[in-house]
Protein backbone atom coordinates (compact mmCIF):
# COMPACT_ATOMS: atom_id res chain seq x y z
CA UNK A 1 0.00 0.00 0.00
CA UNK A 2 1.44 3.38 -0.89
CA UNK A 3 2.51 5.44 2.07
CA UNK A 4 0.15 8.19 3.16
CA UNK A 5 0.39 11.19 0.92
CA UNK A 6 2.46 9.16 -1.58
CA UNK A 7 0.62 10.72 -4.50
CA UNK A 8 1.48 14.22 -3.32
CA UNK A 9 5.17 13.37 -2.93
CA UNK A 10 5.23 11.77 -6.40
CA UNK A 11 3.72 14.92 -7.88
CA UNK A 12 6.17 17.12 -6.02
CA UNK A 13 9.07 14.96 -7.19
CA UNK A 14 7.96 15.53 -10.80
CA UNK A 15 7.80 19.29 -10.39
CA UNK A 16 11.15 19.31 -8.59
CA UNK A 17 12.76 17.34 -11.44
CA UNK A 18 11.21 19.79 -13.90
CA UNK A 19 12.43 22.76 -11.88
CA UNK A 20 16.03 21.56 -11.59
CA UNK A 21 16.06 20.14 -15.12
CA UNK A 22 15.12 23.50 -16.61
CA UNK A 23 18.40 24.92 -15.35
CA UNK A 24 20.53 22.19 -16.90
CA UNK A 25 18.82 21.07 -20.14
CA UNK A 26 18.15 24.28 -21.99
CA UNK A 27 16.12 22.55 -24.69
CA UNK A 28 13.30 21.90 -22.18
CA UNK A 29 12.45 25.58 -22.16
CA UNK A 30 9.75 26.41 -24.69
CA UNK A 31 10.19 30.22 -24.49
CA UNK A 32 12.67 31.42 -27.14
CA UNK A 33 14.16 34.78 -26.39
CA UNK A 34 12.88 37.84 -28.29
CA UNK A 35 15.91 39.71 -29.57
CA UNK A 36 15.51 43.44 -29.53
CA UNK A 37 15.03 45.37 -32.83
CA UNK A 38 17.68 47.94 -33.84
CA UNK A 39 17.43 51.18 -31.98
CA UNK A 40 15.98 53.07 -34.98
CA UNK A 41 12.53 54.66 -35.31
CA UNK A 42 9.56 52.34 -36.04
CA UNK A 43 8.50 52.50 -39.73
CA UNK A 44 5.51 54.77 -40.38
CA UNK A 45 3.43 52.12 -42.19
CA UNK A 46 3.49 48.34 -42.47
CA UNK A 47 4.58 48.62 -46.09
CA UNK A 48 7.90 50.08 -44.99
CA UNK A 49 8.84 46.88 -43.20
CA UNK A 50 11.55 44.92 -45.10
CA UNK A 51 9.74 42.99 -47.80
CA UNK A 52 12.43 40.51 -48.86
CA UNK A 53 11.33 37.19 -47.57
CA UNK A 54 14.75 36.46 -46.06
CA UNK A 55 14.32 39.24 -43.46
CA UNK A 56 10.72 38.28 -42.61
CA UNK A 57 11.64 34.60 -42.57
CA UNK A 58 14.02 35.26 -39.65
CA UNK A 59 11.03 36.60 -37.67
CA UNK A 60 8.38 34.10 -38.69
CA UNK A 61 10.54 31.04 -38.04
CA UNK A 62 11.29 32.10 -34.47
CA UNK A 63 7.66 31.44 -33.55
CA UNK A 64 6.48 27.84 -33.85
CA UNK A 65 4.57 26.83 -36.95
CA UNK A 66 1.18 26.86 -35.28
CA UNK A 67 1.11 30.65 -34.91
CA UNK A 68 -1.26 32.55 -37.26
CA UNK A 69 -1.40 36.33 -37.34
CA UNK A 70 -2.81 38.11 -40.39
CA UNK A 71 -3.69 36.93 -43.94
CA UNK A 72 -1.32 37.11 -46.94
CA UNK A 73 -1.87 36.58 -50.68
CA UNK A 74 -0.13 33.67 -52.42
CA UNK A 75 1.51 33.51 -55.83
CA UNK A 76 3.23 30.54 -57.45
CA UNK A 77 6.89 30.56 -58.25
CA UNK A 78 7.84 33.39 -60.60
CA UNK A 79 6.96 37.05 -61.00
CA UNK A 80 4.41 37.86 -58.29
CA UNK A 81 1.95 39.69 -60.53
CA UNK A 82 2.10 37.03 -63.28
CA UNK A 83 1.50 34.00 -61.09
CA UNK A 84 -0.94 35.55 -58.56
CA UNK A 85 -3.66 33.06 -57.62
CA UNK A 86 -6.24 35.60 -56.58
CA UNK A 87 -8.84 36.28 -59.32
CA UNK A 88 -10.58 39.09 -57.44
CA UNK A 89 -13.82 37.11 -57.08
CA UNK A 90 -14.47 39.18 -53.91
CA UNK A 91 -15.97 36.24 -51.97
CA UNK A 92 -13.55 36.87 -49.08
CA UNK A 93 -14.41 40.56 -49.12
CA UNK A 94 -18.10 39.75 -48.63
CA UNK A 95 -17.52 36.95 -46.13
CA UNK A 96 -15.09 38.89 -43.89
CA UNK A 97 -17.02 39.55 -40.61
CA UNK A 98 -15.31 42.86 -39.71
CA UNK A 99 -15.28 43.87 -43.42
CA UNK A 100 -11.56 44.65 -43.35
CA UNK A 101 -10.75 43.49 -46.95
CA UNK A 102 -11.09 45.96 -49.87
CA UNK A 103 -10.72 44.64 -53.43
CA UNK A 104 -10.84 46.50 -56.75
CA UNK A 105 -11.16 44.16 -59.73
CA UNK A 106 -8.89 44.85 -62.72
CA UNK A 107 -10.54 45.87 -66.01
CA UNK A 108 -8.59 43.63 -68.40
CA UNK A 109 -7.64 39.96 -67.97
CA UNK A 110 -4.19 38.44 -67.91
CA UNK A 111 -3.02 34.89 -68.55
CA UNK A 112 -2.57 32.91 -65.40
CA UNK A 113 -0.39 29.87 -64.83
CA UNK A 114 -2.80 27.49 -66.70
CA UNK A 115 -3.08 29.84 -69.66
CA UNK A 116 -6.70 30.85 -68.96
CA UNK A 117 -7.24 34.63 -68.98
CA UNK A 118 -8.32 35.70 -65.51
CA UNK A 119 -9.04 38.95 -63.71
CA UNK A 120 -6.55 40.01 -61.07
CA UNK A 121 -7.03 42.37 -58.13
CA UNK A 122 -5.88 45.86 -59.09
CA UNK A 123 -6.19 46.82 -55.43
CA UNK A 124 -6.28 44.35 -52.47
CA UNK A 125 -6.05 46.07 -49.05
CA UNK A 126 -6.45 44.46 -45.62
CA UNK A 127 -6.82 46.78 -42.63
CA UNK A 128 -4.73 44.89 -40.07
CA UNK A 129 -6.06 47.00 -37.17
CA UNK A 130 -9.58 45.69 -37.94
CA UNK A 131 -8.73 42.10 -38.95
CA UNK A 132 -9.43 39.64 -36.12
CA UNK A 133 -7.51 36.75 -37.82
CA UNK A 134 -10.57 34.51 -37.88
CA UNK A 135 -9.36 32.72 -41.06
CA UNK A 136 -12.85 32.80 -42.68
CA UNK A 137 -11.30 34.33 -45.80
CA UNK A 138 -8.91 31.38 -46.00
CA UNK A 139 -11.81 28.90 -45.74
CA UNK A 140 -14.08 30.53 -48.32
CA UNK A 141 -11.39 31.25 -50.96
CA UNK A 142 -12.03 28.79 -53.86
CA UNK A 143 -8.57 29.39 -55.33
CA UNK A 144 -6.43 28.93 -52.17
CA UNK A 145 -5.16 32.41 -52.86
CA UNK A 146 -5.25 33.75 -49.30
CA UNK A 147 -3.61 32.05 -46.27
CA UNK A 148 -2.46 33.12 -42.78
CA UNK A 149 1.00 34.57 -42.28
CA UNK A 150 2.77 34.41 -38.89
CA UNK A 151 4.74 37.64 -39.14
CA UNK A 152 4.44 39.56 -35.86
CA UNK A 153 6.63 42.61 -36.45
CA UNK A 154 3.76 44.84 -37.63
CA UNK A 155 3.63 47.70 -35.13
CA UNK A 156 3.58 51.26 -36.46
CA UNK A 157 3.14 54.55 -34.59
CA UNK A 158 0.60 55.77 -37.16
CA UNK A 159 -2.75 54.28 -36.23
CA UNK A 160 -4.88 55.38 -39.18
CA UNK A 161 -3.11 54.83 -42.48
CA UNK A 162 -0.13 52.86 -41.19
CA UNK A 163 -1.97 49.60 -40.51
CA UNK A 164 -3.40 49.25 -44.03
CA UNK A 165 -1.49 46.49 -45.87
CA UNK A 166 -1.42 46.98 -49.68
CA UNK A 167 -1.54 44.17 -52.26
CA UNK A 168 2.18 44.19 -53.01
CA UNK A 169 3.07 43.86 -49.27
CA UNK A 170 0.55 41.02 -48.94
CA UNK A 171 1.91 38.98 -51.86
CA UNK A 172 4.16 36.14 -50.75
CA UNK A 173 5.49 33.18 -52.72
CA UNK A 174 4.27 29.63 -52.21
CA UNK A 175 7.63 28.33 -51.04
CA UNK A 176 7.72 31.07 -48.33
CA UNK A 177 4.38 29.59 -47.28
CA UNK A 178 6.01 26.15 -47.23
CA UNK A 179 8.78 27.47 -45.01
CA UNK A 180 6.56 29.04 -42.34
CA UNK A 181 3.71 26.49 -42.22
CA UNK A 182 5.16 23.29 -43.74
CA UNK A 183 2.33 20.88 -42.88
CA UNK A 184 -0.47 23.19 -43.87
CA UNK A 185 1.22 24.22 -47.12
CA UNK A 186 1.89 20.61 -48.08
CA UNK A 187 -1.69 19.59 -47.30
CA UNK A 188 -3.03 22.53 -49.32
CA UNK A 189 -0.86 21.77 -52.35
CA UNK A 190 -1.84 18.10 -52.20
CA UNK A 191 -5.51 19.08 -52.13
CA UNK A 192 -5.04 21.39 -55.12
CA UNK A 193 -3.28 18.67 -57.10
CA UNK A 194 -5.96 16.17 -56.15
CA UNK A 195 -8.75 18.61 -57.19
CA UNK A 196 -7.06 19.24 -60.53
CA UNK A 197 -6.69 15.51 -61.15
CA UNK A 198 -10.30 14.94 -60.19
CA UNK A 199 -11.40 17.71 -62.55
CA UNK A 200 -9.38 16.24 -65.41
CA UNK A 201 -10.77 12.81 -64.68
CA UNK A 202 -14.27 14.25 -64.66
CA UNK A 203 -13.59 16.16 -67.89
CA UNK A 204 -12.18 13.07 -69.48
CA UNK A 205 -15.17 11.05 -68.35
CA UNK A 206 -17.48 13.77 -69.66
CA UNK A 207 -15.58 13.81 -72.95
CA UNK A 208 -15.91 10.06 -73.30
CA UNK A 209 -19.59 10.17 -72.47
CA UNK A 210 -20.03 12.94 -75.02
CA UNK A 211 -18.09 10.88 -77.59
CA UNK A 212 -20.16 7.77 -76.78
CA UNK A 213 -23.38 9.80 -77.06
CA UNK A 214 -22.15 11.25 -80.39
CA UNK A 215 -21.38 7.77 -81.70
CA UNK A 216 -24.78 6.49 -80.53
CA UNK A 217 -26.46 9.44 -82.27
CA UNK A 218 -24.36 8.81 -85.42
CA UNK A 219 -25.29 5.07 -85.34
CA UNK A 220 -28.98 5.95 -84.94
CA UNK A 221 -28.72 8.46 -87.82
CA UNK A 222 -27.16 5.74 -90.06
CA UNK A 223 -29.93 3.29 -89.10
CA UNK A 224 -32.58 5.87 -90.10
CA UNK A 225 -30.73 6.61 -93.35
CA UNK A 226 -30.71 2.83 -94.09
CA UNK A 227 -34.47 2.52 -93.44
CA UNK A 228 -35.19 5.50 -95.76
CA UNK A 229 -33.21 3.89 -98.57
CA UNK A 230 -35.13 0.52 -98.33
CA UNK B 1 -0.33 60.69 31.70
CA UNK B 2 -0.54 58.46 28.64
CA UNK B 3 -2.83 56.07 30.57
CA UNK B 4 -5.30 58.89 31.12
CA UNK B 5 -5.51 59.77 27.43
CA UNK B 6 -5.74 56.16 26.27
CA UNK B 7 -8.50 55.46 28.77
CA UNK B 8 -10.61 58.37 27.55
CA UNK B 9 -10.00 57.60 23.88
CA UNK B 10 -10.93 53.93 24.33
CA UNK B 11 -13.95 54.84 26.43
CA UNK B 12 -15.29 57.19 23.75
CA UNK B 13 -14.69 54.61 21.03
CA UNK B 14 -16.46 51.93 23.09
CA UNK B 15 -19.53 54.11 23.79
CA UNK B 16 -19.74 55.22 20.15
CA UNK B 17 -19.32 51.65 18.91
CA UNK B 18 -22.06 50.39 21.21
CA UNK B 19 -24.44 53.22 20.26
CA UNK B 20 -23.85 52.65 16.54
CA UNK B 21 -24.30 48.91 16.94
CA UNK B 22 -27.67 49.50 18.55
CA UNK B 23 -29.02 52.41 16.53
CA UNK B 24 -27.92 51.68 12.94
CA UNK B 25 -30.60 50.66 10.41
CA UNK B 26 -28.08 48.69 8.29
CA UNK B 27 -27.26 45.56 10.27
CA UNK B 28 -23.85 45.08 8.64
CA UNK B 29 -22.77 48.50 9.84
CA UNK B 30 -24.17 47.46 13.21
CA UNK B 31 -22.03 44.33 13.36
CA UNK B 32 -18.86 46.14 12.40
CA UNK B 33 -19.59 48.84 14.96
CA UNK B 34 -20.06 46.05 17.51
CA UNK B 35 -16.65 44.70 16.58
CA UNK B 36 -15.08 48.10 17.08
CA UNK B 37 -16.76 48.07 20.50
CA UNK B 38 -15.19 44.67 21.27
CA UNK B 39 -11.77 45.93 20.12
CA UNK B 40 -12.08 49.03 22.32
CA UNK B 41 -12.94 46.81 25.26
CA UNK B 42 -9.92 44.60 24.52
CA UNK B 43 -7.82 47.79 24.65
CA UNK B 44 -9.37 48.66 28.02
CA UNK B 45 -8.52 45.20 29.35
CA UNK B 46 -4.93 45.71 28.21
CA UNK B 47 -4.94 49.04 29.98
CA UNK B 48 -6.07 47.27 33.16
CA UNK B 49 -3.18 44.80 32.70
CA UNK B 50 -5.47 41.82 32.08
CA UNK B 51 -3.42 40.82 29.05
CA UNK B 52 -4.65 37.26 28.63
CA UNK B 53 -8.28 38.37 28.85
CA UNK B 54 -7.67 40.97 26.11
CA UNK B 55 -6.25 38.27 23.84
CA UNK B 56 -9.15 35.92 24.57
CA UNK B 57 -11.61 38.78 24.05
CA UNK B 58 -10.25 39.46 20.56
CA UNK B 59 -10.02 35.77 19.73
CA UNK B 60 -13.51 34.84 20.92
CA UNK B 61 -15.57 37.94 20.36
CA UNK B 62 -14.17 39.48 17.20
CA UNK B 63 -12.86 36.27 15.70
CA UNK B 64 -15.82 33.99 16.42
CA UNK B 65 -18.92 35.76 17.75
CA UNK B 66 -18.63 38.58 15.20
CA UNK B 67 -18.33 36.20 12.28
CA UNK B 68 -21.23 34.15 13.69
CA UNK B 69 -23.41 37.27 13.84
CA UNK B 70 -22.44 38.07 10.25
CA UNK B 71 -23.47 34.60 9.14
CA UNK B 72 -26.74 34.91 11.03
CA UNK B 73 -27.50 38.26 9.40
CA UNK B 74 -26.77 36.78 6.00
CA UNK B 75 -29.33 34.06 6.67
CA UNK B 76 -32.10 36.36 7.87
CA UNK B 77 -33.93 39.19 6.15
CA UNK B 78 -33.98 42.96 6.09
CA UNK B 79 -30.20 43.30 6.28
CA UNK B 80 -29.59 46.71 4.80
CA UNK B 81 -32.67 48.24 6.35
CA UNK B 82 -33.26 50.35 3.28
CA UNK B 83 -37.00 49.58 3.28
CA UNK B 84 -39.08 52.17 5.06
CA UNK B 85 -40.25 49.86 7.84
CA UNK B 86 -39.76 51.11 11.36
CA UNK B 87 -36.81 49.55 13.17
CA UNK B 88 -37.86 50.39 16.72
CA UNK B 89 -40.48 48.34 18.53
CA UNK B 90 -43.78 49.96 19.46
CA UNK B 91 -43.18 50.83 23.09
CA UNK B 92 -39.75 52.29 22.35
CA UNK B 93 -40.35 55.41 24.46
CA UNK B 94 -40.74 53.30 27.59
CA UNK B 95 -37.62 51.42 26.57
CA UNK B 96 -35.63 54.65 26.62
CA UNK B 97 -37.18 55.62 29.93
CA UNK B 98 -36.32 52.24 31.54
CA UNK B 99 -32.70 52.37 30.30
CA UNK B 100 -32.24 55.91 31.59
CA UNK B 101 -33.78 54.96 34.91
CA UNK B 102 -31.33 52.08 35.32
CA UNK B 103 -28.47 54.40 34.39
CA UNK B 104 -29.48 57.03 36.91
CA UNK B 105 -30.11 54.36 39.55
CA UNK B 106 -26.68 52.82 38.92
CA UNK B 107 -24.72 56.07 38.67
CA UNK B 108 -25.87 58.48 41.29
CA UNK B 109 -26.48 56.67 44.56
CA UNK B 110 -24.47 53.47 44.26
CA UNK B 111 -21.26 54.63 42.61
CA UNK B 112 -20.99 58.08 44.24
CA UNK B 113 -21.85 56.76 47.66
CA UNK B 114 -19.68 53.63 47.79
CA UNK B 115 -16.14 54.07 49.18
CA UNK B 116 -14.10 52.43 46.44
CA UNK B 117 -10.56 51.15 47.04
CA UNK B 118 -8.15 53.61 45.48
CA UNK B 119 -5.00 51.60 46.16
CA UNK B 120 -3.38 50.22 43.02
CA UNK B 121 -1.45 47.00 43.70
CA UNK B 122 1.56 46.23 41.45
CA UNK B 123 0.49 43.35 39.19
CA UNK B 124 2.87 41.26 37.10
CA UNK B 125 0.56 39.85 34.44
CA UNK B 126 1.39 36.19 33.95
CA UNK B 127 -0.60 33.56 32.17
CA UNK B 128 1.14 30.83 34.15
CA UNK B 129 -0.53 31.95 37.40
CA UNK B 130 -3.90 32.04 35.63
CA UNK B 131 -3.25 28.52 34.34
CA UNK B 132 -2.39 27.17 37.78
CA UNK B 133 -5.47 28.87 39.27
CA UNK B 134 -7.62 27.31 36.58
CA UNK B 135 -6.24 23.91 37.46
CA UNK B 136 -6.41 23.61 41.21
CA UNK B 137 -9.50 25.32 42.60
CA UNK B 138 -11.42 25.74 39.36
CA UNK B 139 -10.83 22.48 37.50
CA UNK B 140 -14.45 21.37 38.00
CA UNK B 141 -15.76 24.62 36.57
CA UNK B 142 -13.46 24.14 33.58
CA UNK B 143 -14.85 20.66 32.89
CA UNK B 144 -18.44 21.87 33.31
CA UNK B 145 -17.64 24.70 30.93
CA UNK B 146 -16.28 22.24 28.39
CA UNK B 147 -19.48 20.22 28.73
CA UNK B 148 -21.57 23.38 28.32
CA UNK B 149 -19.70 24.39 25.15
CA UNK B 150 -20.15 20.95 23.59
CA UNK B 151 -23.83 20.95 24.47
CA UNK B 152 -24.19 24.44 22.96
CA UNK B 153 -22.36 23.28 19.84
CA UNK B 154 -24.65 20.28 19.35
CA UNK B 155 -27.75 22.28 20.29
CA UNK B 156 -26.94 25.09 17.86
CA UNK B 157 -26.41 22.70 14.97
CA UNK B 158 -29.60 20.80 15.78
CA UNK B 159 -31.71 23.95 16.09
CA UNK B 160 -30.38 25.61 12.96
CA UNK B 161 -30.35 22.44 10.89
CA UNK B 162 -33.69 20.96 11.94
CA UNK B 163 -35.20 21.26 8.50
CA UNK B 164 -35.47 17.61 7.43
CA UNK B 165 -38.27 16.45 9.70
CA UNK B 166 -40.56 19.35 8.97
CA UNK B 167 -39.78 19.14 5.28
CA UNK B 168 -41.21 15.62 5.06
CA UNK B 169 -44.47 16.58 6.80
CA UNK B 170 -44.75 19.62 4.56
CA UNK B 171 -44.12 17.24 1.64
CA UNK B 172 -46.90 14.70 2.49
CA UNK B 173 -49.53 17.18 3.77
Amino acid sequence: MSILGGGIFKGMAVTLRNFIGSYFHKERLITNDYEWRSEGELPQSIGDYPKEEGEQLRDTTTVNHYSRNFPMLLHDTGEPMDTIRCVACQICERECPPQCIYIEKSTEKIENADGKPQFYPAKFDIDVSVCMSCQICVEVCPFDAIVMNSQFELSTPNRFGGLLVRRDDLLKSNDYYHKIHPQEAAARDQKMVADKAAKEAKKKAAAEKAKAAAEARAAAAEAEAKEDTE
Amino acid sequence: MTQEITFWVLAVIAVLGALLAVRRRNLIHGVFALMIFFAALAGLFLLLLAEFIAAVQILVYIGAVGILLLFAIMLTERVTGDDARDITSRGSFWGWAAALAVLVFLLLPTIQGADLPQTVQPINPSVKALGFKLMNPYVVTLEVLALLLTAALVGAVAAAQGGEKKKEDAGDA
Partner: protein, 105 residues
Protein backbone atom coordinates in the same frame (compact mmCIF):
# COMPACT_ATOMS: atom_id res chain seq x y z
CA UNK C 1 -5.34 62.32 37.71
CA UNK C 2 -4.83 58.63 36.91
CA UNK C 3 -7.51 56.11 35.93
CA UNK C 4 -9.52 55.18 39.03
CA UNK C 5 -12.07 52.46 39.67
CA UNK C 6 -14.82 55.08 39.50
CA UNK C 7 -14.06 55.82 35.84
CA UNK C 8 -14.31 52.17 34.88
CA UNK C 9 -17.52 51.63 36.81
CA UNK C 10 -19.18 54.65 35.22
CA UNK C 11 -18.08 53.46 31.79
CA UNK C 12 -19.36 49.95 32.59
CA UNK C 13 -22.71 51.35 33.70
CA UNK C 14 -23.06 53.52 30.57
CA UNK C 15 -22.24 50.58 28.28
CA UNK C 16 -24.65 48.33 30.17
CA UNK C 17 -27.45 50.85 29.73
CA UNK C 18 -26.72 51.19 26.00
CA UNK C 19 -27.08 47.41 25.75
CA UNK C 20 -30.32 47.60 27.74
CA UNK C 21 -31.56 50.35 25.44
CA UNK C 22 -30.88 48.17 22.40
CA UNK C 23 -32.62 45.17 23.89
CA UNK C 24 -35.72 47.22 24.79
CA UNK C 25 -36.20 49.32 21.67
CA UNK C 26 -35.17 47.24 18.67
CA UNK C 27 -37.49 45.02 16.63
CA UNK C 28 -34.95 42.72 15.01
CA UNK C 29 -34.03 39.65 17.06
CA UNK C 30 -30.40 39.74 15.87
CA UNK C 31 -29.98 43.30 17.16
CA UNK C 32 -31.33 42.16 20.53
CA UNK C 33 -28.53 39.58 20.54
CA UNK C 34 -26.09 42.41 19.79
CA UNK C 35 -27.31 44.30 22.84
CA UNK C 36 -27.07 41.21 25.07
CA UNK C 37 -23.44 40.92 23.96
CA UNK C 38 -22.87 44.55 24.85
CA UNK C 39 -24.37 44.05 28.31
CA UNK C 40 -22.19 40.96 28.93
CA UNK C 41 -19.10 42.85 27.90
CA UNK C 42 -19.97 45.75 30.17
CA UNK C 43 -20.18 43.26 33.04
CA UNK C 44 -16.78 41.80 32.08
CA UNK C 45 -15.30 45.29 32.14
CA UNK C 46 -16.55 45.77 35.71
CA UNK C 47 -15.06 42.42 36.78
CA UNK C 48 -11.63 43.33 35.45
CA UNK C 49 -11.87 46.85 36.93
CA UNK C 50 -12.68 45.48 40.39
CA UNK C 51 -9.87 42.93 40.10
CA UNK C 52 -7.38 45.60 39.03
CA UNK C 53 -8.13 47.83 42.05
CA UNK C 54 -8.63 45.01 44.54
CA UNK C 55 -6.12 44.63 47.38
CA UNK C 56 -5.00 41.03 46.58
CA UNK C 57 -4.97 40.81 42.78
CA UNK C 58 -2.93 37.58 42.62
CA UNK C 59 -6.12 35.72 43.58
CA UNK C 60 -7.05 36.39 39.92
CA UNK C 61 -10.76 36.23 40.67
CA UNK C 62 -11.58 38.88 38.07
CA UNK C 63 -9.89 37.35 35.01
CA UNK C 64 -11.06 33.84 35.92
CA UNK C 65 -14.68 34.90 36.17
CA UNK C 66 -14.37 36.92 32.95
CA UNK C 67 -12.98 33.85 31.17
CA UNK C 68 -16.00 31.85 32.19
CA UNK C 69 -18.46 34.61 31.19
CA UNK C 70 -16.76 34.92 27.78
CA UNK C 71 -17.14 31.18 27.24
CA UNK C 72 -20.77 31.19 28.34
CA UNK C 73 -21.50 34.24 26.19
CA UNK C 74 -20.03 32.52 23.14
CA UNK C 75 -22.18 29.44 23.77
CA UNK C 76 -25.22 31.67 24.32
CA UNK C 77 -24.69 33.53 21.02
CA UNK C 78 -24.32 30.25 19.15
CA UNK C 79 -27.55 28.80 20.52
CA UNK C 80 -29.37 32.15 20.30
CA UNK C 81 -28.54 32.56 16.63
CA UNK C 82 -29.51 28.97 15.90
CA UNK C 83 -32.91 29.69 17.44
CA UNK C 84 -33.23 32.94 15.48
CA UNK C 85 -32.53 31.09 12.24
CA UNK C 86 -35.01 28.34 13.15
CA UNK C 87 -37.63 31.02 13.98
CA UNK C 88 -36.89 32.80 10.72
CA UNK C 89 -37.31 29.58 8.74
CA UNK C 90 -40.63 28.87 10.37
CA UNK C 91 -42.20 32.32 10.67
CA UNK C 92 -40.40 33.93 7.70
CA UNK C 93 -39.62 36.95 9.90
CA UNK C 94 -37.31 37.94 12.72
CA UNK C 95 -39.45 40.92 13.67
CA UNK C 96 -40.19 40.45 17.36
CA UNK C 97 -43.41 42.41 17.08
CA UNK C 98 -44.91 39.80 14.76
CA UNK C 99 -43.80 36.77 16.81
CA UNK C 100 -46.81 36.86 19.12
CA UNK C 101 -48.47 33.49 18.48
CA UNK C 102 -48.42 32.74 22.24
CA UNK C 103 -50.60 35.81 22.87
CA UNK C 104 -54.25 34.69 23.27
CA UNK C 105 -56.62 36.62 20.94
Amino acid sequence: MPVTLEHCLILGAVLFCIGLLGAFTRRNAVVVLFSIEIMLNAANLNFIAFWRFSDNPDQLHGPLFTLFTIAVAAAEVAVGLALVIAVYRHFKTVDLEQLDTLKEE
